[in-house]
Symmetry: C2
Subunit: 77 residues, 2 copies
Amino acid sequence: MKVNVHVMLKNGVLDPQGKAIGHALHGMGFAEVGDVRQGKVIELEIADGTDKKRIAEMCEKLLANTVIEDYRIETAS
Amino acid sequence: MKVNVHVMLKNGVLDPQGKAIGHALHGMGFAEVGDVRQGKVIELEIADGTDKKRIAEMCEKLLANTVIEDYRIETAS
């Protein structure tokens, strides 16, 4: 099955990359853009029936730095 | 409104970062993991009612490198 893990900086943690994107978009004339944040998606191909706990373990141990990042697990099919 | 843009390397484009993650997960005993790919998510706060075309324009011009990357626009609320 396919699992998408979204890793975003926590609210309140400065996101310079997002700020840079927002700034660039404004400079290009996209004035309708407000706040921008950038994160990661990790697409995992995982054996069917893998427990969600197991995926959370991967996130905690490797995929996300839980001090500054939040993760969200999205199971596709 | 909130818009999520997913930017992933196209199929067939080598993804060393994804490979490294997969390798690390295997080394940590997560044998159930197969292929891994890594991409970006960009969360944009955009003025309500902004045309989707306009967002696609941002992707084409700045957010994605369409030579090697695909993007997907996801409108939240």
